[in-house]
């Protein structure tokens, strides 16, 4: 019962945050509210006993990405900070996504259902081996680094590639040269 009350409370906060994200007109408050949104998501994950996911969400979603978004907004020229586009297409898109998800929800297994397909395939084996054979209490780490080690290697390479891409895009002089070139052409 407590679980349901806390979940209801958190999800209602999510609704309010989304409403204000749509309502507000300044980009910096959109960024701040998105940070609030992901932090509340992290609280929901803790409530669902997915502590690792919550940890990642809090650190990456509401920490680093909010900082990077604030930096990006701060770099915008003065006139563009409060300029927002017409929200109508995005509202239509998100409402249609919500309707599609609502239609699918009926087919999903109930929350915490032990007979759900995902709990019957390899998960029991992972939990048993991790505890008794490998003596690693955190099954999530074990799955992430050992059973799915190759996946995690791929994820690491994705992050590495993203870093390289941002470094190449932002610290090389190509962009400055281009803008200079355009200005010269205008003159």
């Amino acid at each position: 019962m407590n679980f349901l009350i806390i979940n209801f409370f958190l999800i209602s906060i999510l609704f309010f945050t989304t409403f204000y994200i749509f309502k507000t007109t300044s980009l910096i408050s959109v960024v701040a509210l998105t940070g609030v949104f992901t932090l509340v998501c992290a609280a929901i994950y803790v409530n669902l006993d997915a502590v690792d996911v919550a940890f990642t969400e809090a650190a990456v979603g509401s920490g680093i990405s909010t900082i990077l978004m604030v930096l990006a907004v701060a770099k915008l020229p003065e006139g563009k900070k409060n300029q927002l586009l017409n929200l109508f297409p995005s509202i239509v898109l998100s409402v249609s996504i919500v309707i599609a998800l609502m239609l699918i929800i009926a087919n999903l297994p109930l929350l915490g259902d032990p007979n759900a397909p995902i709990h019957l395939h390899v998960t029991p084996e992972y939990i048993k081996e991790s505890k008794t054979i490998f003596h690693i209490p955190n099954v999530v780490t074990n799955i992430l680094a050992s059973y799915r080690g190759f996946d995690t290697l791929g994820e690491t390479i994705v992050i590495f590639t993203a870093g390289i891409g941002v470094i190449v895009l932002l610290t090389s002089n190509t962009l400055n040269r281009k803008t200079k070139f355009k200005k010269k052409a205008k003159k």
Partner: protein, 145 residues
Amino acid sequence: MKDNFSSSPILNIVSRILFAPIIIFGLYVQFHGDYGPGGGFQAGVIIAAAFILYSMIFGIKKGETLVPIKINQYLMCSGVLLYAAVGIVSIFFNGNYLDYNVLASDRSTGQHIGIILVELGVGITVATVMIALYHSFASFRIKDD
């Protein structure tokens, strides 16, 4: 935007006090990943947060002397290479790629060693990539002179 906030005494002192504990907490999350929530990804982000706080408060110049760009880029690559190297080492011990069972005499120790090394690689890469992201975002200027 102002480039540094070190003139404000509150921010200055608080960030000085917080810098070391954030890194210690990051290391705890990194090496305690087998036993509690956490692991390379989260620890990397937490450690990067300490350095980002430093360069936010004391300016991007000081941040780049603390973590030079060259060293940061070398570490970025070395994290991925460490991860890949663990897999290759396990091939040399007659196992499959990334099979940690063969790294030590018994399965459990091998798994522990493998997971700690792999998570260390992930942590190094994530931390340095986040620092590099912040530094390149912060030193990026749209020239309109």
